[in-house]
Symmetry: C2
Subunit: 283 residues, 2 copies
Amino acid sequence: MPLFHRVTILGPGLLGASLCMAIKERMIADKVRVWARKQSALELCKQEKWCDEAEPNLKDAVKDTELIVICTPVNTIEETLCEIIQESGHNSIITDVGSVKENICRIAHAGTQANATTFIGSHPMAGSEKSGMEYAHSDLFNHRTCMITPLPTDSAEKVSILEKFWVQLGMNVQQKSPEEHDKIVASVSHLPHLIASSLAEYLSHSPDGWLEMSGQGLKDTSRIAGGDPSLWREIMKSNRSFLLEALDSWLGSVNDFKNILTDEKWDELENYLAKAKECRTKI
Amino acid sequence: MPLFHRVTILGPGLLGASLCMAIKERMIADKVRVWARKQSALELCKQEKWCDEAEPNLKDAVKDTELIVICTPVNTIEETLCEIIQESGHNSIITDVGSVKENICRIAHAGTQANATTFIGSHPMAGSEKSGMEYAHSDLFNHRTCMITPLPTDSAEKVSILEKFWVQLGMNVQQKSPEEHDKIVASVSHLPHLIASSLAEYLSHSPDGWLEMSGQGLKDTSRIAGGDPSLWREIMKSNRSFLLEALDSWLGSVNDFKNILTDEKWDELENYLAKAKECRTKI
């Protein structure tokens, strides 16, 4: 028996449309309802087998549904949440797929006090430097990690249902507080993005022809610098403090490296590289 | 007609054994001769179809052969070159596959003045964070870039033959001076390695469980930190000055990023990320 009768996906982009596909394929809900801000996106959804109901009105889209997943662009998640929080059914669960959790959970907590709706933040760590429905696929979430960020006051039953939802999508689910989540992703996701971007920005000043001399190493190290600048602007803006902390801390490691090179301490260099290699094997 | 009657490969590791395979497969030489320092490695080669002659004596290995490719570990290239430079046939070409070129070319230039042997440095930008014969494959060089670093005094004919050799292996060949080569790889190869390693070293101090929260982005950004520490120690040691220059220059880009975040200049952040993305598409 499916976990839900009806699930509503707000925003059929890469993550939203992939979610619809995976929910249908894995029979997690009888009905998948989609809302999109743009009529053209909604028209495309209507032609897809994974879309049972295409609803142009946001307030209608969140009625009579057990799970609402906000997959709108990261800078509109909070605004979308505020628009629906008073409209959704009293027993429904609202979640999102944004990369930063502290702020949204605070807003949601204030807004959901009034009724029985529960917002529990989710961060499925799946995606791509590509964006848009055309890159969606039903395997996007499989074998990936999803952090969910319930508050201590949230209903244990609803937390458990949300956890089941992501597990049924093939994800490894971890519960963290919103603050801890943001601290972790600052280090393991947002800092790597900053690093890849700084490398690509540095190389943009190279003489003509230098980039053609690069190999697979540079390709991999810089890949995520190809991500959407407006999306990453919002992510970094939302997680500025923790990202700055992680940046400073990592710069300490870079400085150690620089001192080793400057002082020509070659045994220390090998130890440093070996420590890095050992950590890399765990990633 | 094959380009060479006989080619000698010194050191059948990942690069050396892959070269043997590719030379045979593409019929670039009638005979492939292999020399290895370890008898056990030589025994393994004897069982392979790509090895026509397995020679345990280094001085004999470089006699009566038109091309000698030094593929020994990076810290032994110079010593291997010194051992063979007086022994190889007067018209043979010696090359290597090392990642740093200025020093080896200087040593070779001094050593080859006495006879007609020509050393011309090569740097095929192919490889893997894996090392050893067991990972060798004949496609390793295909569609990759190879820099060759002839000196103005080298015979144009021999430079042209060496270029043909790499082209027949499927490579895009670029000629650079040894110094220019080392400057370029400091930026596009050695700095990315330093960066990936510094990220992994930083993350090695993370609380338990954090690394499990990472996604594909961190995997890619840190992949090359999995490279062999002793190999990279030697590469960075050989290219220390240019690497330090590249490091300082890149740290300027990191500092710009930090200032943007600190000062909350979000439009500037988006411009920075867009510039990085634009450069990334060219890599």
